[in-house]
């Protein structure tokens, strides 16, 4: 790939990137969230088309405009979100969409699948239905699907994010078998020990730019971290110290399993204090979402978990286990939550600002009718205080505002509840610098008012300057809780990739 550039609107996702992949090599593509790894690979697999630049395969220029073009060139990508039909068997999914194979012969296809899996050491039953499969089995189906189509270049987008350590080891064995067979593999990841374990060479992206590559045997965790996170940048976020800290929320042994029974959070314990910002750092998908949703009563939690809330006025402790959001509200716990997925969870896109502001407070007042004056006033207050750019508060649907303004409405609403605990997930994602600072200042204001603020973030520079303490999650476990003023970026980077940190 030479000089590849891709823009989305005014955002440059990839800036003139050069990347080389040798035959029979496993290449790791390393970078933080939002560094443009997936975008780059999507251009190889035909999902996006580069704005500038040229792709060569075996030194011949090729044009990859669709997934089909990618297949024809022997490129196959295994995405993070599997594209499988649940009620089909593995075989049926694998042959789906193939046209030039004559009539359907599932038996023969199963045989070929068996051959492929024996050759590379996959463990798969071709006649198993996808809905009966574990995540790792589904991933296996996706990989065989690509091999069945004769791909020589395989791209795996964060394949280990959903796997247990044992499954990861199995996958690496399979990858090495494929490599021996002469296939080239690219693995997108941000787990350093995996990079060191499986790959021959590492290429690093940062903020959409190509930083460089290094042979794995010449690299160690420290050197890779330095290349990945870069040097600390000073942001000058104001971080006053609160006068007194009081325990507000105590989480003990919190364990959360997803529908498939995989532990997304494993024995997480910490306290969140009034008067401080507790940062939560970690690679995407390390359990941040589950943590906040479990506290908010939106995730079922395992019986050994305890979530204890201390009432600021009475000092009484209250266990929040097993409460749904309505019960939490009714029991007088003032919990605010800015979720990650704004329109999927926190807001209703087709409703106006006023109606969205109402979402938290519509139960106010007696009788069956809505109180409309109060939310309108509140909406106007939020618009004024946070300088939301909007023609009006009760005509235009929220979806038509820009992302920053939408986020201001969401954060504004949650703060206006005068919470005692304020949880935010990726509160500044997709926002411009000015809006981001507005949000940082709001959170700091809340902290000084004696609110326990929990800030889940992805930008380490921000976490380091905003938070009083930082909890680092790694694979659903607490990797460490550190002081935000004394820790370095490199130390956090290491903790994110390995429980406890350290090389």
């Amino acid at each position: 790939m030479e000089g590849i550039t891709k823009r989305f609107g005014s955002v440059v996702a990839n800036r003139s990137i050069h990347l080389e992949l040798h035959e029979g090599e496993i290449l790791s593509l390393l970078g933080e969230n939002g560094s443009g790894k997936t975008t780059l690979m999507n251009m190889l697999s035909g999902i996006y088309y580069p704005d500038e630049g040229q792709i060569y395969i075996h030194d011949k220029p090729v044009k990859i405009a669709s997934p089909k073009d990618a297949f024809d060139n022997g490129i196959g990508m295994i995405h993070q979100h599997f594209k499988l039909v649940d009620i089909f068997t593995a075989t049926e999914n694998i042959v789906l969409g193939l046209k030039n194979e004559g009539r359907l012969n599932l038996k023969q296809a199963s045989k070929r699948i068996k051959e492929i899996s024996d050759k590379y050491g996959f463990d798969i039953d071709p006649n198993q239905k996808v809905y009966d499969m574990s995540v790792s089995q589904k991933q296996t189906v996706e990989i065989i699907k690509v091999l069945y189509r004769g791909a020589d270049i395989l791209i795996l987008d964060e394949p280990t994010a959903v796997l247990t350590p044992q499954e990861t080891d199995k996958l690496f064995t399979v990858m090495r078998n494929m490599q021996k067979d002469g296939k080239s593999l690219i693995i997108i990841t941000h787990k350093l020990h995996e990079v060191l374990e499986v790959s021959d060479r590492v290429a690093i992206l940062r903020k959409g730019e190509y930083i460089g590559d290094v042979l794995t045997k010449d690299a160690n965790q420290q050197s890779l971290t330095d290349m990945m996170v870069g040097h600390a940048v000073s942001l000058n976020i104001d971080r006053p110290q609160a006068k007194e800290l009081k325990e507000r929320l105590r989480v003990e042994h919190l364990t959360v399993k997803d529908i498939e029974g995989v532990k997304r959070l494993n024995d997480v314990s910490f306290t969140a204090n009034a008067g401080e910002v507790l940062g939560i750092a970690g690679i995407a998908g390390s359990g941040q979402r589950e943590l906040l949703e479990a506290i908010a009563g939106l995730q079922p939690i395992e019986p050994e978990s305890r979530i204890v809330y201390t009432d600021p006025s009475t000092g009484k402790e209250q266990v929040l286990n097993g409460m749904d959001p309505l019960k939490i509200i009714r029991s007088g716990v003032l919990l605010s939550f800015v979720p990650e997925d704004r329109f999927g969870m926190g807001l209703v896109g087709s409703m106006t600002i006023t109606q969205n502001v109402m979402l938290r407070s519509y139960r106010r007042g007696k009788g069956p009718m809505l109180d409309r004056k109060f939310p309108k006033k509140l909406a106007e207050k939020i618009v004024n205080d946070l300088e939301v750019v909007t023609p009006n508060v009760d005509q235009i649907p929220l979806r038509r505002l820009s992302g920053g303004n939408v986020q201001k409405v969401l954060v504004g609403r949650e703060i206006e509840q005068s919470p005692t605990v304020l949880m935010t997930a990726y509160a500044v994602r997709g926002l411009d610098i000015n809006t981001s600072y507005t949000i940082y200042n709001l959170l700091t204001d809340q902290k000084m008012k004696g609110v326990a603020v929990i800030y889940v973030g992805e930008d380490l520079d921000v976490l380091l300057e905003l938070c009083d303490r930082i909890l680092v999650l790694c694979g659903g476990r607490v990797s460490g809780i550190v002081d935000g003023r004394s820790i370095t970026k490199e130390e956090i980077g290491l903790m994110m990739t390995k429980v406890g940190g350290g090389a």
């Binding site: 997934p67 089909k68 594209k83 039909v85 009620i87 089909f88 969409g97 046209k99 359907l104």
Partner: protein, 315 residues
């Protein structure tokens, strides 16, 4: 008892066949993710289109000798054309224009039944008939005797069997099911979702339309009367759920439903009780629907994207 069965069974089969055609067509449509509630209307249109064809051919040969192959082909082809156009309209609205499938289907049913009754009524007037019905005794001879299921009944059974085999064992059938289950996945696998939806829905409509023609030519002994077809279209949709989307099962189930429709006439029952018998197919279908959702067996659920329009850029 034996004599009862001899007289009852053939009639049950004949009553069941329109339902079999309707349900086979609807299953094919639903497997592509389209919930076509316009089936009752489409069956009306299929029936009346066939009737129009037969009417004009009988008029043309007034008194003279009819050519057998034309007497069959003309109604058959006009029936297929009529129901094809209805299927095409449904696809244009729901697939291309992504309109709501429920509303479109209901509108098609209103339109189709109106269309059938209007042209039926007009033909009756054209023929200066004394009674409010039209009889094609000449044409219907070529379809069957009226006492036993004729060849079109066997065609219906063959179509149902072929549809089952097609869905299960062919590559195209596999692709079609993928479209109904998960169009985004099918799309990513290089399957043309729109083309599959159009093809399945129009062919399904044509099969359903044949059910209308069958009803006129055999069940009604070649007689068209307005509203004569009744609620059979909805029964066909019930049959789809009852058989859990399996055309081969529908062969027997449709005969069962057909039998229930006329059982009361064979048993000398009190008038009201007869209607309770007619209640049975719907109640049983409801029970099947409930049991299936309780058991949560994935193969028995409706196609996952049933009723939803697919728009690639919306995730």
């Amino acid at each position: 008892m034996w004599s009862f069965l001899v007289s009852f069974l053939p009639r049950a089969v004949m009553q069941g066949m329109p339902l079999l055609y309707g349900s086979t067509g609807e299953i094919l449509t639903e497997k592509a993710g389209n919930l076509n509630l316009g089936i009752p209307g489409i069956m009306y249109v299929g029936a009346i289109s066939g009737v129009i064809g037969a009417f004009f051919y009988e008029q043309a040969t007034q008194g003279g000798q009819m050519i057998g192959i034309l007497a069959v082909l003309i109604p058959l082809l006009s029936c297929l054309l009529g129901s094809f156009l209805m299927g095409l309209l449904y696809c244009f609205l729901t697939v291309t224009l992504r309109a709501n499938q429920n509303v479109t289907g209901l509108a098609m049913t209103t339109f189709g039944i109106g269309f059938g009754n209007f042209f039926g009524g007009s033909l009756i007037k054209l023929a200066h008939s004394e009674v409010p019905s039209l009889t094609f005794s000449n044409t219907c001879e070529y379809f069957g005797t009226g006492n036993y299921p004729g060849w079109l009944a066997y065609v219906g059974i063959v179509i149902a069997l072929l549809t089952s085999l097609f869905l299960r064992y062919t590559r195209t059938g596999l692709h079609l099911r993928a479209v109904g289950e998960n169009p985004a996945t099918a799309d990513a696998a290089g399957i043309n979702v729109t083309r599959y939806k159009y093809a399945a829905t129009t062919i399904g409509s044509m099969i359903a339309g044949l059910g209308g023609l069958y009803y006129v030519m055999e069940c009604a002994h070649g007689t068209w009367a307005n509203e004569g077809f009744g609620d059979r279209g909805w029964l066909a949709i019930a049959l789809v759920i009852f058989t859990i989307w399996r055309p081969s099962v529908s062969i027997l189930a449709s005969i069962l439903f057909g039998g229930l429709l006329i059982l009361s006439e064979h048993l000398s029952l009190q008038l009201g009780i007869k209607d309770l018998y007619k209640l049975a197919p719907y109640v049983v279908t409801l029970l099947v629907l409930i049991i299936v959702s309780l058991r949560k067996k994935r193969e028995d659920q409706p196609p996952q994207s049933l009723g939803l329009a697919y728009f690639r850029e919306e995730r």
